[in-house]
Symmetry: C2
Subunit: 354 residues, 2 copies
């Protein structure tokens, strides 16, 4: 299995991507990684791989790309002038079937736009949706989508998100019948925006989907569903606020113990438990967001991810490859009812003059 990596998207240069790729190669037998970026920079990183990763170096190949897409570059500009960038070269490699998945921690909007152009979409999904798994109560995970790729969306896109999340949870995570829910401001059908209520009516009539209605924000972390669907604006706000809150709470846990535990003995005893706790809450463990709906596998890593974090994104890509996610999406979403014959046409639609 060969995965293409844009090594230049990280906030702190290519080191996290190169070392993270090496970590992933060690963890996934048979994995090869093609790294994209300025040759000289990447070769320096390869030569200075830490000793415990050095053996993985022979499974990492450098592909020269002179340019880099900047974080503040507009997608339209990336499309027009990004051809020689590590991101576009990486995606071109993927489109040319030289690799089976791609990973980047660069500019999300540019990644979406370039990936869509290079790889195309499945079924009639217009744009990729971004989804990531977040830790919820117990040992569970919940896929949240969309996370910012699509704002101001209508009911039809929410239904697409629900179906894509369902396919992913079934095939990549092996859940037999994932519980799919719509995020709303109340659990009653009379609440929420027009598009959410319309999507609710539609999803209720969709065969083969274990749709369980509305959840409110607290339901996400309570583990009320395996897939929670919302507009990209809402999902992005919820995800980023959650990251910010988790960071703040971990800090407070540490401060509490440092401030009040005068005994050095207790401080020493507490340290391993605190470390474990921090590890458990660490968002890095869940690094790697899927760009769903592409006719190919592309994973977005967090720009601030370290080598360990980046390796999770590469391994996420490997898992999606092993389950052939795009084919599953194409197959299951291609078979969906046509727009004209969609179920769930209710008074809500009619009131809009349809």
């Amino acid at each position: 299995m060969r995965i293409a990596v844009d090594a230049m998207g990280g906030d702190a240069g290519p080191r996290a991507a190169v070392q993270g790729s090496a970590v992933a190669v060690q963890a996934w037998p048979g994995l090869e990684v093609d790294l994209f970026g300025p040759r000289s920079l990447l070769e320096i990183e390869l030569e200075s791989l830490p000793r415990h990763l050095a053996a993985a170096g022979s499974h990492l190949a450098v592909h020269h790309a002179a340019d880099v897409i900047r974080q503040d570059q507009r997608p339209s500009d990336a499309l027009r002038r990004g051809e020689r960038s590590s991101m576009a070269q990486m995606l071109g490699h993927l489109a040319g079937k030289h690799a089976v998945a791609g990973v980047s921690s660069g500019n999300t909007g540019a990644l979406m736009a370039l990936a869509r152009r290079e790889l195309g979409m499945v079924a009639d999904i217009p744009r990729p949706a971004i989804s990531t798994a977040i830790p919820v109560r117990g040992e569970g995970l919940c896929y949240l989508l969309d996370l910012g790729a699509n704002v101001d969306v209508g009911a039809e896109r929410l239904v697409d998100f629900a179906r894509m999340g369902d396919v992913m949870a079934r095939h990549v995570d092996g859940l037999e019948a994932p519980r799919v829910a719509l995020l709303n401001v109340g659990s009653e059908g009379t609440k929420g925006s027009a598009s959410v209520r319309e999507a609710d009516a539609w999803l209720r009539e969709l065969p083969g989907l274990r749709y369980c209605g509305f959840v409110e924000g607290d339901g996400i972390f309570a583990g009320a569903a395996d897939v929670v669907v919302c507009d990209g604006f809402v999902g992005n706000a919820v995800l980023k606020a959650s990251e910010g809150l988790a960071r703040m709470l971990i800090e407070r846990v540490q401060t509490t113990f440092e401030a009040h535990w005068s005994s050095r003995l207790v401080g020493l005893l507490a340290r391993p438990a605190l470390r474990r706790l921090k590890g458990e809450l660490d968002p890095v463990r869940y690094n790697g967001a899927s760009l769903l709906g592409l006719a190919g596998i592309v994973i977005k890593s967090h720009g601030g991810a370290d080598a360990t974090g980046f390796s999770y994104a590469v391994l996420r890509a490997a898992r999606e490859v092993s389950q052939d996610l795009p084919s599953r999406l194409a197959q299951e979403l291609g078979a969906r009812p046509r727009r004209q014959a969609r179920p769930g046409r209710t008074a809500l639609n009619k009131s809009k003059g349809e």
Copy 2:
């Protein structure tokens, strides 16, 4: 100062409201509370006040109201048939100037609709916005609004929220120039929904407001602003997800220590620190959401609040009374530029055919 309390909105009957009112009376010299609900139920609670609250009983007066607004009752139904309910009676008492503020932990939609009818609005705000303070990094607080009262709102309402949040933070919290921000999916002006970008252009030109542009979700808890403004759907999702996440993380902190600390000595030593931590993170401390824009003070308490939580909501009301918040809002928002002459008219408006 006399505050009217709907004692019947709590999830577990009137006890939290009655005891919470007694706690508030003890904390705020000169405070009197008028309790609304079925006389017999409230009298039982008053007679069984715990010993340390018994002295406050003489400052609590029972006002009989036979009915209760149900949590699942529609606002329209509450307006039509809720006249004899504890909520409507409490608001009528307030409208008749028999009290200076009202508190309820009942059905939010019904409370908004009834309060709007009974009290009216200030300036030309069409509907109340809901706002609450959330704890952020350091010792700070951040007002988030709207929290669900208004979904699918346009730029003009977002600007109203910004101005109301600014007035509240200045007068109730004594901040000289609160930093006001718009929640968005990116910090660049090219990102986000049309209404958010339009509101941004407008706020940039608004005199007297310390507007600091867009923040993303993580900026809320990082303390990037004192007032963060968003659509009610987004605010509600962010707030409830944060409550859910905080609950999950506190559980994990406890589990981590219980699971790994075999030494009873350490367990005993850890207990006070854990208790303090839980207290610090306890959302109850910040209970009490303001219904902003009403020509009167109404505070919504969390339905699940205990007596301590409810007392915070009553004390929040007392603080807003002491600063005469509705007059400040009427004065400052009444002086705003008229709609026709609003600044920030950009290409975004024109593209909508205005």
